[in-house]
Symmetry: C2
Subunit: 296 residues, 2 copies
């Protein structure tokens, strides 16, 4: 089995996780969470989102969170930014990396961004341009890369075309999102091949259909070296269809350890952190590793 | 990705699933369950166990279940049998296939069978010999093929030696069990290679650490064409460490469908069956696909 020697875990629990939890977590708890994730060895930790608080009230405290969070040397704290207004707020908070989020389908672009696909590029282009001019790194997410709840299976060529538009703006990385979790391993490898290989690609899988880790293995076999994951599986509950169902970082780390792939994360410290956060949210973590390793 | 064209799903929900559920299910419900599994297209359905009822009270109704179950043409209904006494009972019930269950480690042989590894072979040998003489097919399970709670990591050579002993008795298939779910994809491929390839091997993964489906993908890539799985993930609850955590048949079927691998199972009928059984057990199915596809 051909596999990379080292993988970068792009930790999304504090943003993609908490924005999909019902509970609104106090800003001090979020700051402690970010500190614990860094203590556990994670070096890329998406901190929050500058989407308008009307849409994501869970992360309305973005500026305050960045103000009170001690940012560690050697750790990246990207933040989600939808547009120029969000970029302004992110710049005021002194961020060094932003992430934009596009859609691979017309329907989801309308539903999530209230724009056509062409209009989403028009919104992102000046945002990315200004961010790069300010010396920021810019990452791009692409949603609905495998299936779309309204459009069904999404053609690989359509995903590649949309992803290239974002990369050509100057994004350093494109994270291919299986937003509804329907993709399977062969589809993953087909999509990566259609991009001409893994260069500048990351993967972002949801476990809605139980496929997230198998799909990750397929992506690693295709040479991908950045994997998005959420500490404790934050943002998803196995008993709710509406769940985002992010791949749990601990389950990923367990597999990487077994495969002898370096990642830099201390599993015990991460499990302790996820147990701590689960207590704050008042429900158990859906991560299998966290469940198996939790003190009883 | 090199993959088999067709996979046989060896359905263990009625036996391995129900024997690990707290609730004791009425025999009529079990019979209906077996009928529904066959209706859904499963052709190998482990029905029950002739282990002494003292050890597995959940399946004390084995003889009665086989008496009232309509056995469909073209469907195999293997039953678990530990020894000659169990074989006698199975023969009285007119079974055509039995499964024996050995351990790859000394400690688990002692804990599960109250025997040393050598003594387990001595127990199985006359059982298998008599079963074969009676025209039955015999399958062998091998437990603790990856890790053991008392002994830690289990050396591949030790597993191969134990597995060969069972195959040499005349078992048509050896199911490699990751009883505590700690194995990862590379270990799976290493073990299959150590057996000299996938011939006569099946795999039996538990999702305790979230690895079951990724490990299955790795086994398919190594050429394995029989995969054990449990309808609705019966026998495991994601919120309990003690959970067996069998791979859910539905999650496996979703992956096989995506990979274009034939299996003969009607996913919708299977999900309906697992929802029905979850209602009887009074708790939701841990299968992600069942959760995503359940009527709300």
């Amino acid at each position: 089995m051909e596999l990379p020697q080292r993988v970068t875990i792009y930790e999304v629990g504090a943003r993609d996780g908490l924005q999909n939890e019902e509970a609104i977590v106090p800003v001090e708890v979020k700051a402690e969470f970010l500190g614990r994730l860094a203590d556990a060895g994670l070096t890329t930790i998406e901190a929050t989102s500058f989407v308008h608080p009307k849409w994501v009230p869970q992360l309305a405290d973005a500026a305050r969170l960045l103000e009170i969070t001690e940012r560690r040397p050697g750790v990246n704290y990207p933040v989600l930014v939808p547009n120029e207004r969000g970029l302004d707020r992110a710049l005021e908070s002194g961020v060094e990396e932003i992430a934009i989020f596009g859609s691979a389908t017309e329907t989801f672009a309308r539903k999530n961004l209230n724009r056509s696909m062409d209009e989403q590029y028009a919104m992102f282009a000046p945002t990315v341009e200004r961010a790069l001019a300010a010396g920021l790194r810019v990452r791009a997410y692409l949603s609905m890369c495998f299936g779309d709840p309204w459009e069904g299976a999404v053609p690989v060529g359509q995903v590649v075309a949309a992803g290239r538009r974002l990369l050509e703006m100057g994004c350093y990385q494109l994270s291919l999102g299986d937003t509804i979790g329907v993709g399977t391993a062969g589809h993953v490898q087909e999509l990566i091949a259609a991009f001409g290989g893994p260069s500048r690609l990351a993967v972002h899988f949801h476990d809605t259909y139980g496929q997230a880790l198998a799909n990750t293995l397929a992506a690693l076999q295709s040479g991908v070296t950045t994997v998005d994951a959420s500490a404790g599986g934050l943002g998803g509950c196995p008993y709710a269809e509406s769940a985002t169902g992010n791949l749990a970082t601990e389950d990923l780390v367990w597999m990487l350890d077994g495969l002898g792939i370096e990642h830099g994360v201390d599993l015990d410290a991460l499990v302790t952190t996820s147990v701590w956060m689960a207590e704050r949210l008042g429900r158990p973590s859906p991560s299998r590793v966290v469940t198996a390793r939790s003190p009883k």
